[in-house]
């Protein structure tokens, strides 16, 4: 029953994979070859951050064309869940927007590698009729979210937006209540750039916002914002684009107002690419560089250095290898910036260290 199911899935996968070029005869012979190998289908389970999920699901589909024997599965359950499940070895890899902290790494039953897979930006979105390209500085963003700036026509906002007609409308704040990587990146940025924020609120996946309404998930934020003129909130870039929310240009460490985009996020990653630590856990929040968008971050896949199962481990390593090379090209249409080449080189070295016992999983030909 199960084998029959596998075969059916395998043939399906193959027929999708071969569609563009292969002839019918080729398909047949390939299919019969697969029938004998059908027991070799390998399932790789992952779970974690929801932010890279659209990209990961694209990867899962595309990777079936590369190797029809592999089924990669990813449950988008949140960064915290990803860390938890990888530590309990429920999944083969975890996904997290925020790198694991030392304490968590120490508790894990094995050495965990952080593999950056793509880049994301958190945008400050707003709902103000007729205002496009609003400019904000970290100071103003912090003061708005602290509840100190209460009105859109406040002089602090007006000073950054000369020539823009700002309505005299109260600001209503929306934040994420589901402990999310997005909140972690956003509050890390504010803590890093604003002393008052650091002291009063701090950084983390869940923080106590001094004012505003909580909404669950990106869709909660956007639903809330669309219903509330004068609202401001923070969401992932990819999501803001999908939901057609207006978002602000943010002043970076060089004093330039930068629009969040694939290029400005990549620029932020480039600016730190030269000094990425050995374990690849690095913050690119408030990065230096003229063109860097300051609220940017890597998102990670978490894998054990030492895998339990040889055949599965090999396929996992190969999949990740593919993801950081060919997989990067699939990111742009979905608004995910590609990894800088220097980072890719470092990840390659990490993936080569993955092993089962003393056997390395990736051979030199990769």
């Amino acid at each position: 029953m199960r084998i029959a199911g596998c075969i059916a899935v395998a043939i399906l996968g193959l027929s999708i994979g071969c569609k563009p070029s292969d002839t019918t005869i080729d398909k047949k012979s390939d299919a019969s070859k697969l029938l004998t190998q059908s027991e070799k289908i390998i399932e790789i389970q992952g779970a974690g951050a929801s932010f890279p999920y659209p990209l990961y699901s694209k990867w899962m589909a595309e990777y079936q064309k590369v190797d029809p024997r592999i089924r990669v599965n990813y449950q988008s359950i949140g960064s915290g869940g990803g860390i938890r499940q990888v530590m309990e070895k429920i999944v083969d890899f975890g996904g997290s927007d925020a790198p694991m902290v030392d304490e968590e790494l120490a508790k894990a039953p094995g050495k965990i590698f952080h593999i950056p897979t793509t880049l994301g930006a958190v945008v400050v979105a707003y709902n103000l009729a007729g205002v496009v390209g609003l400019k904000l500085s970290s100071e103003v963003v912090a003061r708005i979210f602290l509840g100190e700036i209460k009105n859109w026509d406040d002089s602090a906002i007006a000073a950054l937006n000369v020539g823009v007609v700002l309505p005299s409308q109260p600001i209503s704040i929306v934040y994420r209540t589901d402990g999310s990587g997005t909140t972690a990146v956003f509050t890390e940025y504010l803590s890093k750039t604003n002393a008052a924020w650091k002291e009063k609120v701090g950084a983390g996946k869940s923080v106590k916002f001094p004012i505003g309404l909580g909404a669950k998930g990106n869709e909660g934020i956007s639903g809330q914002m669309k219903m509330a003129p004068g609202s401001i909130g923070y969401v992932e870039l990819a999501y803001a684009k999908q939901a057609k929310l207006a978002y602000a240009f943010i002043q970076n460490s060089q004093g330039r107002f930068v629009e969040p985009s694939l290029e400005s996020v990549a620029a932020a990653a480039d600016s730190v690419a030269g000094r990425i630590p050995e374990d690849l856990r690095v913050s690119i929040v408030d990065a230096s560089g003229e063109l860097s968008y300051p609220i940017s971050a890597f998102t990670y896949v978490l894998v054990y250095e030492e895998q339990a199962d040889l055949s599965k481990g090999v396929e996992l390593a190969k999949f990740l290898w593919w993801a950081i090379h060919d997989g990067q090209k699939l990111g742009a249409p979905l608004h995910y910036a590609p990894l800088p080449s220097q980072v890719v080189t470092k990840i390659e070295a990490k993936l080569r260290e993955m092993r089962v016992g003393k056997q390395m999983l990736l051979t030199a030909k990769n």
Partner: protein
């Protein structure tokens, strides 16, 4: 927690033994049947005990660290590791109470109309429609509340409340620009609870023998008098039970409330202000957290909700019992 289980256990045994004493037969099949059903009955209790045990164990870290202060603490700041559950308990109870206050008159009206006044051809379809309200998924209520009800309340209801009842602190303050808050959550909860309360009440009223009404009508009573004298007193305790059932559902409702209540761990006198409930907090935070203490705290919140529901159930049993002994009820029986 534990004492209540030991209280329940002997009572259950009593119930089980009664019929076998009456039967007195020694049929093998009967014995087997008795043990099988007893096993099913026990499984519910075992499951409950296992859940409580597991939850207590999972929240041990939080219980040790915060003790009783957890229940009365007002502040919730994950960064500073300060956790107080009181705002969530408050939000849970208040949103459910609002729902009940709104739903009781409406549900009773629906039940009386369907059971006593509606023409025969209307009873079935209308009753079906009311029950259909219960079949709508919570998330649909949430989305509808978020996009339609809350803005509508904001535009049409809040200003009126503020104007007429604004002298009460309940209806003061500026509502959120999206209309979300305690009151919006309470209204949606009321709609969600309506079918439960209304259909149980209707069933109860229908079950009152026709002769009662006819007798009272024959004495020259009006329709309303007949309902008041012959029907309602017989079903009061059942209706209280139905209301408690609805209250229980409102306490634990998660999705729709999460989307409407505003999710702020604050206590405000104003019903326009955002709040948070225990269930919404767990739904929001559990999946995303990896920190051991935080998970433990969230589990303890679940335990608090559990105890809250248990207390409520016990209180309701007491209430039903008291209502059942009320002089008016006895007289009519």
């Amino acid at each position: 927690m534990l004492p209540t289980h030991s209280e329940q256990a002997p009572r259950r045994e009593l119930c089980e033994q009664k019929p076998s004493k009456v039967e007195g037969g020694r049929n093998f099949g009967d014995g087997l049947f008795k043990w099988i059903t007893a096993g099913f009955a026990a499984s519910a209790v075992i499951l409950l005990a296992a859940m409580v045990m597991q939850m207590t164990r999972a929240s041990a870290l939080s219980i040790q660290r915060f003790g009783f202060g957890f229940l009365v603490g007002m502040d919730w700041d994950p960064v500073q590791e300060i956790f107080g559950a009181f705002p969530f308990v408050f939000g849970t109870v208040v949103s459910s109470v609002i729902a009940l206050l709104l739903v009781i008159p409406i549900a009773l009206g629906v039940a009386i109309f369907l059971a006593e006044l509606a023409p025969g051809w209307l009873t079935k379809p209308l009753g079906l429609l009311v029950e259909l309200l219960a079949a709508i998924p919570s998330i649909v209520y949430g989305l509808w509340g978020m996009f339609i009800l809350a803005p509508w309340l904001l535009k049409n209801v809040y200003p009126i409340l503020e104007k007429t009842l604004g002298f009460l602190p309940l209806f003061q303050g500026v509502p959120q620009a999206s209309g979300r808050g305690m009151l919006a959550a309470g209204v949606v909860l009321a709609i969600m609870v309506l079918p439960t309360v209304a259909s149980v009440s209707r069933e109860l009223m229908v079950s009152v023998p026709k002769g009662y009404r006819e007798g009272v009508l024959a004495l020259g009573a009006t329709r309303w008098e007949a309902i008041r004298v012959a029907v309602l007193p017989n079903v009061v305790s059942g209706i209280v039970g139905a209301i408690v059932l609805g209250f229980g559902r409102a306490l634990g409702e998660t999705m729709a409330v999460t989307m409407l209540i505003g999710n702020r761990a604050e206590i405000s006198a104003s019903l326009f202000a955002p709040a948070a409930t225990i269930a919404s907090m767990i739904a929001n935070e559990y999946a995303g957290s990896s920190d051991e203490l935080y998970l433990s705290v969230l589990t303890e919140l679940g335990l608090v909700l559990f105890v809250l529901t248990l207390l409520l159930n016990m209180a309701s049993k007491l209430l039903v019992w008291r209502v059942g002994r009320m002089p008016g009820v006895e007289r009519s029986l």
